[in-house]
């Protein structure tokens, strides 16, 4: 009998609810006790066992997948937390994590998804993959997506289908101009995703794991499903158990990389799904006069027609501010993506709980502010939008204040730093390299906050970019650090039949993002070579600035006059300065590095300054130039140059490390990776000569940069090595050992010597490197 009841509920969705858990007697009598104090914390009703699962799942959520773990071969992300990080793990993300959906709308109306279940993947490694996967030629639908926060999804999963369907009015029978309708997923009412296209949290996790990370999984077994915090079995053991999460895909997935499928264990997947199900929302703020006025206006102008204040689940009323139904949002917002029954113009009403801390807003993050998001509404919401537009400024402010009061405001950050974050300790990762005066501390904080801040469209981001902040790429292990593979910069160009290199018209950097009103940059015709550039850390840049050009030049041996097979040369820039920063030593100083990165990586224009030549001073977005003042650039430079160099790591086996250090010198590593260069501040232990060396095999293709040839790279500084994986200019090395083995050209002899070491000696050498 239970199966009959189950099928009636799941398949005949318009039938009255007769088998599901009954809602409270008076569902409007107060709000369910489901909130945590802070976003990122678990629901208060989690059991002790579930709390342990939550912590394990959070670790999986934050895990950086390596190539050995199964990342790729094509991917957008290396961790779940990469996209769901704002303001804390489980949240949304800045625009630098936006991704593209791709499809072809054919003449007969067929909507043909392309990519990985619509997702365009940006990066690839190995297995015959081109580093930059090509956009399929037939693509004519290509909207962006901004990550959706996940707080409270377990509670939405518990909602009955009927609770959502009760507000459907597909034919606008009440003639209010709003005609929401449900989407469906395997017969259940969809509720997750921008188009409510999914009902299963397991499915909504396995999909992105594969589509964005290239990580394969098997579906959870029935035994594991039965243990999830939200009931997820197709066949409930009793009628008291809901079955709303039963629609998880039953298929395994697989890929072509070297890692064995599935690339995530069932326990890891279970923990990850459980973590997501247990992430709590935070309660609305205590009402104020302004927010109460805003709430009333929100209601009176019709916002609540779709953003219904509460949905009632088995735990009581939830202040979701969404009906979870599909609504036509008009031509301006239409993205052309069809999912389930959703048309290209239909979107799920986005839940508003926790809104304050999870911008930017709308499906593609086109809105910097809540007000902009409201004014971008169209279609069924146009009337409410127009009424908002006609409000006085103070009335609009009331509505915005009310919306910001729906939870999360206390955790709002312009970037990812917690509001009022302390300065990290002197000489630690992310801390200053010396004790600072009060004035210097204030400047350090200004620069740090600017480094962390997401630049919005109104602040000049783009129109094309890689990151929307400095921190977007430089954050591991902390602000100022390196970046994982999913923030790699893509360099590209054309290598002719004669082996010559031609840079594209836009330069060798191919931006991966664009503001939503602008199309993404695609490689121009003839481009045939792509290379990853891993994001190096910026710790110790101030000390590197203090190394004189003469010191760098003193180690040159361009013609290998000493006959050691190593012929480093300085990168002399066109204006005669000596380059020292960047994978090709193409940048001469931190100040220039800041200007270069603001323009090349963020599309932010800088002010012309005497003696500084890098950066762009104009662009073609709508924001007045310069978009970063000279003072702001100087604050940023101060912050970076004041960052401490990477601290040496604790040595647990001094003899082993000493042996490794001797081998480092003995087999020739130190010939290029010079342990220290003199400077006005004393020896700088960066383990680099800052010179260019050919380290790719003969004939290998590459990217020219200034006078650096295709095969030449600056000797990478090794300080901070253990905390800044992945390695090599391309980021293709998971481990230090992998990176050493990728050396060739001038370093081939040393690489072979390393390979010839005994296992014990190699372990000693690696132990030494890990201490840097």
């Amino acid at each position: 009998m239970s199966i009959r009841c189950l099928l009636s509920l799941s398949l005949m969705s318009l039938m009255p609810l007769s088998c599901a858990v009954e809602p409270p007697d008076d569902p409007t009598d107060g709000v369910a006790d489901v909130f945590a104090e802070r976003l990122g914390d678990p629901v208060p009703f989690a059991t002790a066992e579930q709390l342990e699962t939550f912590e394990r799942g959070k670790a999986v959520f934050l895990k950086e997948f390596s190539l050995a773990d199964g990342l790729g071969p094509q991917f957008n992300l290396t961790s779940c937390g990469g996209c769901h990080e704002r303001p804390v793990p489980g949240g949304g993300s800045g625009r630098y994590r936006n991704f593209f959906l791709i499809a072809e709308k054919q003449d007969d109306g067929t909507f043909l998804p392309l990519g990985a279940s619509l997702v365009l993947r940006t990066f690839a490694y190995g297995h015959g993959e081109i580093a930059h996967p090509a956009l399929p030629a037939q693509t004519n639908v290509m909207p962006q997506r901004n990550a959706i926060p996940m707080f409270g999804v377990g509670l939405l999963a518990e909602l009955s289908d009927e609770e959502i369907q009760s507000r459907a009015d597909p034919d606008d029978a009440d003639a209010d101009g709003i005609s929401g309708r449900p989407n469906f997923d395997q017969g259940f009412v969809g509720r997750f995703g921008r188009k409510s296209q999914t009902v299963s949290i397991e499915g909504f996790i396995r999909g992105p794991l594969f589509n964005h990370l290239g990580v394969t999984t098997d579906p959870l077994s029935d035994a594991m499903k039965a243990l999830l915090p939200v009931p997820s079995l197709a066949v409930p053991p009793t009628l008291d158990t809901q079955r709303v999460q039963a629609a998880a895909p039953a298929e395994s997935n697989s890929d072509e990389d070297a890692a064995t499928d599935p690339e995530m264990t069932e326990q890891e997947l279970f923990d990850l799904v459980s973590f997501s199900m247990l992430l709590a929302p935070v309660p609305p703020d205590e009402p104020t006069g302004q927010t109460e006025r805003g709430s009333a206006t929100f209601e009176s102008i019709g916002c609540a027609g779709c953003h219904v204040p509460t949905l009632v689940g088995p735990r009581g009323a939830l202040p979701v501010y969404s009906d979870l139904l599909l609504h036509d949002m008009g031509a301006a917002l239409a993205d052309g993506i069809e999912q389930g029954v959703a048309t290209g113009a239909e979107f799920r009403t986005q839940p508003l709980w926790g809104l304050a801390s999870v911008g930017p807003y709308l499906h593609d993050g086109r809105a910097d502010t809540i007000e902009e998001a409201i004014l971008a509404h169209g279609g069924e919401a146009e009337a409410a939008r127009n009424r908002f537009d006609q409000l006085s400024a103070s009335e609009q402010a009331d509505v915005a204040a009310f919306l910001r009061s729906l939870g999360g405001a206390a955790q709002f950050s312009p970037g990812l730093l917690e509001p009022g974050a302390d300065v990290l300790p002197v000489a630690e990762f992310g801390g200053p390299r010396r004790v600072l005066s009060d004035e210097e501390t204030a400047r350090f904080i200004r620069g740090r906050d600017l480094y962390d801040k997401d630049f919005g469209i109104n602040a000049g981001l783009g129109p094309r970019f890689n990151g929307d902040s400095c921190r977007a790429c430089h954050f591991a292990p902390t602000l100022g650090g390196a970046g994982p593979r999913d923030v790699n910069v893509m360099r590209h160009g054309t290598i002719g039949d004669d082996g010559s290199f031609t840079a594209p018209d836009i330069g060798t950097i191919l931006p991966k993002e664009s503001i939503p009103s602008v199309t993404r940059a695609e490689p121009q015709s003839g481009v045939n070579h792509f290379e990853h550039r891993q994001t190096p850390h910026t710790f110790g840049f101030g000390l590197m600035d203090e190394i004189s050009e003469a010191t760098i030049l003193s180690h040159e041996d361009p013609d290998d006059e000493d006959g050691d097979g190593i012929s480093g040369r300085a990168h002399i820039l066109s204006d005669g300065r000596v380059g020292r920063l960047g994978w090709k030593a193409q940048v001469p100083s931190t100040a220039e590095f800041v200007r270069d990165a603001m323009g090349a990586e963020m599309g932010v224009t800088v002010e012309a300054q005497t003696g500084l030549t890098f950066g762009i001073t104009t662009d073609d977005d709508a924001i007045a130039d310069p978009e970063l003042s000279a003072m702001e650039a100087e604050d940023l430079t101060f912050f970076i140059t004041t960052l401490a160099p990477p601290p040496r790591q604790p040595i647990t086996d001094a003899a082993l490390v000493a042996g490794g250090e001797a081998l480092f010198d003995g087999i020739g590593c130190a010939a290029c990776h010079i342990p220290a260069l003199d400077s006005s501040a004393g020896p700088v232990p960066l383990y680099s000569d800052l010179l260019l060396h050919e380290i790719l095999p003969d004939g290998a293709p590459g990217i020219e940069d200034g006078s650096a040839t295709m095969r030449e790279f600056r000797t990478a500084p090794l300080w901070g090595l253990s905390q800044t994986a992945p390695y090599f200019h391309s980021g293709e090395a998971d481990t230090i050992d992998d990176a050493i083995r990728l050396h060739d050209g001038e370093a081939a002899t040393v690489r072979d010597a390393y390979d010839a070491l005994s296992d014990e000696d190699r372990a000693a050498l690696l132990a030494f490197l890990a201490t840097l």
């Binding site: 199966i3 099928l7 398949l11 007969d108 469906f184 395997q186 017969g187």
Partner: protein, 327 residues
């Protein structure tokens, strides 16, 4: 070489509760019940019969095909050569039955013995249909990697037939069915539909990119294809044009069978079975008593239909075989 199931041959499988034909109070609604005890069966992929007392069900475990036969009274496992799991079955008579399966496997039954057929492909074969003993088509492909596979049997040997250039990156054709030798259709992944006019195969517009998994019809202008991996998708052919539509909240569909042009019996995920009016796309859901996937359906034109499926994840696979009675 017969596989291990041969030891079970003498053991007849008890048919489970099919309502007797002479029941004095026949139910007004279709009733579904277990066709036989499938405790030891693998995933059951397909069902076809030449008559009410000559029905074949195929399926198995990943590395072991299985065939079950109904003689009008009992179900029993059949001796078959060693083969991977079988995916589809179709026949031209009780002594001319074809079954195809994973890794290019194909078997033929001559009324007495199943024999292995060489197909020349290692790709999975998902469907088989023929107009005559010397005019049989099989389709397949490795889902996700491809390419789609199209084979023809001329009564003597299977040979590969070139798949026409497709407008999408479909990796597999999933079923083939026709009304005559010159009116054949194949459906597949990403909504691909191919038509065959007796001379050439060509892609025809389907109006959908949802996987189309199976098709059946009652004539050249009454053909229904079903599919969809999440929500059900139905494509209807009126003799000139295919028209597709999502039929949510009905779930993804795997199987279809038609006796009358105005009614298709459809089956799919989560134990779903329903009758569908191909013109209005209105449907009547039926309670099957299972939440397992139903993969195929076939009617004996004597008032009964069979639906088969199970669970094909984890090991061992689990099967389900249901019988639907309307009188």
């Amino acid at each position: 070489m017969p596989h291990g199931l041969s030891v079970l041959v003498p053991v007849m499988l008890a048919a489970c509760n099919p309502p007797p034909a002479d029941d004095p109070t026949p139910p007004t609604e279709p009733q579904w019940a277990e066709a036989f005890d499938t405790t030891d069966a693998g995933f059951l992929s397909a069902v076809w019969g030449s008559a009410a007392d000559d029905v074949f069900i195929v399926g198995g475990q990943p590395d072991r095909g299985e065939v079950y036969h109904f003689d009008g009274t009992d179900w029993s496992p059949m001796d078959i050569p060693e083969t991977p799991i079988l995916i589809w079955v179709y026949g031209l008579g009780s002594d001319d039955v074809f079954a195809v399966g994973e890794r290019g496997s194909a078997l033929h039954y001559d009324g007495a013995t199943w024999t292995e057929m060489a197909t020349g492909t290692d790709s999975d074969l998902w469907g088989v249909w023929g107009d005559a003993s010397d005019d049989v088509w099989a389709v397949g492909g490795e889902i996700g990697t491809g390419p789609p596979v199209l084979l023809h049997f001329d009564g003597d040997a299977w040979s590969a037939v070139a798949v026409p250039t497709l407008d999408r990156a479909s990796t597999a054709l999933l079923k083939v069915w026709g009304t005559t030798a010159t009116n054949v259709f194949a459906v597949g992944q990403l909504g691909v539909i191919l038509g065959y006019d007796g001379t050439n195969w060509a892609q025809v517009p389907s109006g959908t990119s949802e996987d189309l998994i199976s098709l059946w019809g009652t004539g050249p202008d009454h053909i229904v294809a079903v599919g969809g991996r999440s929500n059900g998708e139905v494509a209807v052919y009126d003799g000139s044009t295919w028209t597709s539509q999502t039929v949510a909240p009905i779930v993804g569909l795997n199987g279809v069978f038609m006796e009358q042009p105005d009614e298709a019996l459809i089956v799919g995920l989560i134990g779903t079975a329903a009758t569908l009016d191909p013109d209005s796309l209105t449907s009547e859901l039926e309670t099957t008593g299972t939440s397992l996937t139903l993969h195929a359906v076939w009617g004996d034109r004597a008032g009964r239909a069979y639906a088969v499926g199970g669970r094909a994840t984890g090991t061992p696979y689990q099967g389900v075989a249901l019988i639907r009675s309307t009188q």
